[in-house]
Amino acid sequence: MRKLTYADAICEAQLEEMAVNEGVFVVGEDVDIAGGVYKLTRGIMERFGPKRLIGTPVSEEAFCGLAVGAAMTGLRPVVEIMYMDFILMAMDPLVNQMAKIPFMSGGQFSMPVTIRAQAGVGTVEAAQHSQSFEAWFAHTPGLKVCMPATVYDAKGLLKSAIRDDGPVLVIENRVLFYEEEEVPDGEWTVPLGKAEVARVGTDVTVVSLGYTRRKALAAAAKLDGEISVEVIDPRSLVPLDMATIAASIRKTGRLLVVHEAPTRNGFGAEIVRHVIDECFDYLDSPPRVLGGADLPIPFSPSLEKACIPQETTIANAIREVCH
């Protein structure tokens, strides 16, 4: 075992995949200078040079389009979108093109594009630097979506994404970049579509997306003795590992979904829909979603905190679900 940060896990995944497949290249703003603004491409220049690590102008639509064309002609692009908010400049290549061409072409083209985009609330960067769009992309047929919340998953999911023949959106969490965790030596992958039971419990199932996994675990620890909380991190949203979630709910009979994205039409609603479909008769109380406020994220630090789930609000919501 060794210690690794989330940011370095991202670097490692890219380095390893670049080493085994020379069609893999990384493209994005500032990625080529000093390991990137957030140091998520450190070490790549030294090892693979500017041919395979391409810093771009601020032209998101063009370089995401470039990824589509490159993937259709035999390459395997990894695109870094600095903040997920900026993906709004590149919605045509993502949604109209890469998500659809494999299908529209009758299966002629595969589309091995990985989009790495960072989300996360908590760095006081206000409404245009705090958005979480996982629900949008989950609603876009043809895209896969995952949200690594641990260092282990940051590396393992990214490697699976790069190897996947379809477009995969990997939502990285900016608040976690420099957090260290113990990880195994060497290589590993985490398959897309496999949830992790992050904590075993018997009274209630908490499904947490991305960073909220940590807060949910903290809340669960706090409730220890009072309520036995099972925490599940789905890790990928599309495909979604409903088997693991459903098994948990058949045991606990209760569900709380937690995410930072706005509650209205968030991915929480989608999980509730599935659970109602598959586990209705096992439910002891109505499944609930604790998402972010249905507001843009305010700048003022105190209000920012109030807009997303926190350890205490999660604990309270768990209590309510278990009333």
């Binding site: 290249f25 041919k51 771009t56 102008p57 032209s59 639509e61 063009a62 370089f63 995401c64 389009g65 470039l66 990824a67 589509v68 064309g69 490159a70 993937a71 259709m72 002609t73 035999g74 390459l75 692009p77 045509d92 290549p93 109209n96 093109q97 061409i101 494999p102 299908f103 529209m104 072409s105 009758g106 299966g107 002629q108 083209f109 595969s110 589309m111 047929p141 043809g142 896969k144 023949d165 379809g166 897309l192 579509g193 599309v238 495909p239």
Partner: protein, 324 residues
């Protein structure tokens, strides 16, 4: 063009006639209800697609638009599968999943029509990047029209293509209209090609109704691209003879239409006259070509009609492959 052989010219003529007749047939089938959806015809612009693709190799790339039949026939030349796609049949180029606007042919480097105006420009950039990355001398041609020239992505891509010396040709078919909007109302200047100038990208304007002028212009651009000298921007002045789309009323000036369809302007009549005049082909040769085209078209329609629709099963298979 002295460097073109008789066979080449003959083939160019054949393809132009094929496109024209294909489009006329599509129009007829659309009216008869055998083809449905949004159909954008290429009639009047045949010289651009053919003059361009005649320069290209099979392994070169082309990105196309919502008006792709001409480009597709010029590059892929598979009437049967193109017609079958128009009818949404399983034997179509895209297996019936794409339709008129989404013909794709990987084997011939045809990276698809595109329902999004400007949607193919970034893809062309990526194909050009890919050739450079893989160290091949493949060239990419990006077709778009005057309307798409107002999408910002074009300028992002011009900058990148220039910065990185990509082997790409931006082929702007200025057919004077974007849907119902005349180019004078959408572009602030008379010509579009000079918009490439500030990026240091060589640009040229050619007569888009003269297949040899198109060929000449594209040949230069392709040579430059293959030699690693980067991008070229070409504006081909032409005219969209049909209404924008099957469903849309056309309120254009009749005189304008008549002029562009006259023997002095129609790209096929012009090329035919030239071939006759320079004695490359005789009137009998031309008649024979036209008859062959007719026959092939008939076969294509028949093939398309007889072909099965894609089934829910093939659908499910594809789904499990690419769709989660």
């Amino acid at each position: 063009m002295n460097d073109l052989t008789r066979n080449q010219k003959c083939e160019m003529f054949r393809r132009m006639v094929t496109i024209r007749r294909f489009e006329e047939e599509v129009k007829r089938l659309y009216r008869a209800g055998e083809i449905t959806g949004a159909i954008h015809l290429y009639i009047g612009q045949e010289a651009v697609a053919v003059g361009t693709c005649a320069v290209l190799r099979d392994d070169d790339y082309v990105t196309s638009t919502h008006r792709p039949h001409g480009h597709c026939i010029a590059k892929v030349f598979d009437l049967k599968r193109t017609m079958a796609e128009m009818m949404g049949k399983a034997t179509g180029l895209s297996g019936g999943f794409g339709g008129s606007m989404h013909q794709f042919c990987k084997d011939k480097g045809f990276l698809g029509g595109n329902g999004i105006v400007g949607g193919g420009i970034g893809i062309a950039l990526g194909a050009a990047f890919s050739a450079q990355y893989r160290g091949t001398d493949q060239v990419t041609v990006c077709f778009f029209s005057d309307g798409a020239a107002n999408q910002g992505v074009l300028y992002e891509c011009l900058n990148l293509a220039a910065l990185w010396k990509f082997p790409v040709i931006f082929m702007c078919e200025n057919n004077r209209y974007a849907a119902t909007t005349p180019v004078e109302k959408s572009a602030c200047t008379k010509d579009i090609a000079p918009r490439a100038a500030p990026y240091g990208i060589p640009w040229a304007i050619c007569d888009g109704n003269d297949v040899l002028d198109v060929y000449r212009c594209v040949s230069e651009a392709v040579s430059r691209a293959r030699a690693g000298q980067g991008a070229t921007f070409i504006e081909a002045k032409t005219y969209r003879v049909e209404p924008h789309c099957g469903i849309i009323a056309d309120e254009r000036n009749k005189d304008e239409l008549t002029t562009w369809m006259s023997a002095a302007q129609d790209p096929i009549l012009r090329f035919e006259a030239r071939l006759l005049q320079e004695k490359t082909l005789s009137a009998d040769d031309i008649k024979a070509i036209r008859e062959e085209v007719e026959k092939e078209l008939e076969d294509a329609v028949e093939f398309a009609r007889q072909s099965p629709s894609p089934t829910l099963e093939s659908f499910a298979t594809r789904r499990s492959q690419s769709y989660a």
